[in-house]
Symmetry: C2
Amino acid sequence: MAKTKQKELPVILITNDDGVSAPGIKALTEAVLGLGKIIVVAPDKPQSGMGHAITIGHPLRLSKVNGIEGVETYSCSGTPVDCVKLAVDKVLHRKPDICISGINHGANHSINVIYSGTMSAALEASIEAIPSVGFSLLDYSLEADFTAAKIYARQVVEFVLKNKNLEKHLCLNVNVPAIDAKLIKGIKVCKQAYAKYEEKFDERKDPHGRRYYWLTGEFMNFDKNKDTDDWALKHNYVSVVPVQFDLTHYELKKKLEKTWKI
Amino acid sequence: MAKTKQKELPVILITNDDGVSAPGIKALTEAVLGLGKIIVVAPDKPQSGMGHAITIGHPLRLSKVNGIEGVETYSCSGTPVDCVKLAVDKVLHRKPDICISGINHGANHSINVIYSGTMSAALEASIEAIPSVGFSLLDYSLEADFTAAKIYARQVVEFVLKNKNLEKHLCLNVNVPAIDAKLIKGIKVCKQAYAKYEEKFDERKDPHGRRYYWLTGEFMNFDKNKDTDDWALKHNYVSVVPVQFDLTHYELKKKLEKTWKI
């Protein structure tokens, strides 16, 4: 008797940087229910601003925890990037068909991409040729309304699963404005705006009279172009920036080749 | 009486990710002595693999410590990126003329650039339009011989101080092979090789029978091009890769604009 081979469901790895118990990762899991076999491997504590950090000086722990019903969920003691590496080697024992990260509580557009653990997890997957997307909502609150973000997250994941072959190292940075879904004008493919934080450390003294400093900063956009993620978000679009891990500055490379006379 | 304004010395900020007491940062400081007014602000402990992490959940400490004679030196409780931010705001109270990072104990070429605290500190400076260079020696040992690295570090810093106007956000990733200075063929401007780590976590059990995992991995180069940093280093050149913080994947952006039909 010939066996009918069932079409295998895509394996969807989900992680984030706000921690396995953050509302945002629950929202992302709910958003993609039914699109594949979902596995969650996420940090056991908030890891915002961890960038592409990995844990090399001490070992990692992995624990099975309760998540959404029917979704295998693990908590990991490491960074978001550690979660992706460990999930592939020790949980899935294979590469997933897609890795999605988020939904982040707070914006990761523009220069945030470089500080964001959410986006670094996605970028790490793309180094491994796993198509990946990081999702962020422009609302830091733990009580944020993820309704619109969930709608667009599902659309983007469906798109990527269908168009994986566009690019071997596909990685998208998706940001959703914190407005009602009905007010969102749609998706806009953008470039990363040149915006940055104007830092000012808040200097204080502890009860023993010793100084300490809190990082604070104001986000400033210096980029007046209309093809940026910052522009799109301010004009009620969901911004999608394709990102890459080749940091080579090719234009400067050309200039240096001409100028370098050591 | 007219005052003769002395030509001001350039201000050189030095940081690293191996910590303020690592031999590599001492070597870098010695390498640039006499080129400007040097200030060292570096992490109080090893921060390898910290990538572009910043400290947002707790405050930072800064302490004046003993360094090389005549060089103001501070130890900071944060990451390499924190060191750059804090140095500008609270130590220098201005942008330095150049920020240099390292000399790292171990390679930061190819994909390492993305995990490296050394390179993230340099990249952070370049976001602020401070010309920057990260230096790394292909020798992890604490007893590494920095002789050749020091010679090239001084050359590169002199070059950058003279050619700052090449690029507003100039940032270089310089790696030096671990060989005798006489055997080095010179400097080669390169692109970042597509190489990565093939991870395998080492699974162990603690004395209480609970599993834990050590990150291990083998560096694999998949990039056979001769214009890469990996090629240059294997052929006894000092590799120089200009790097940038705009992660936009412009080619994929074009493809997405054509394909996206949500």
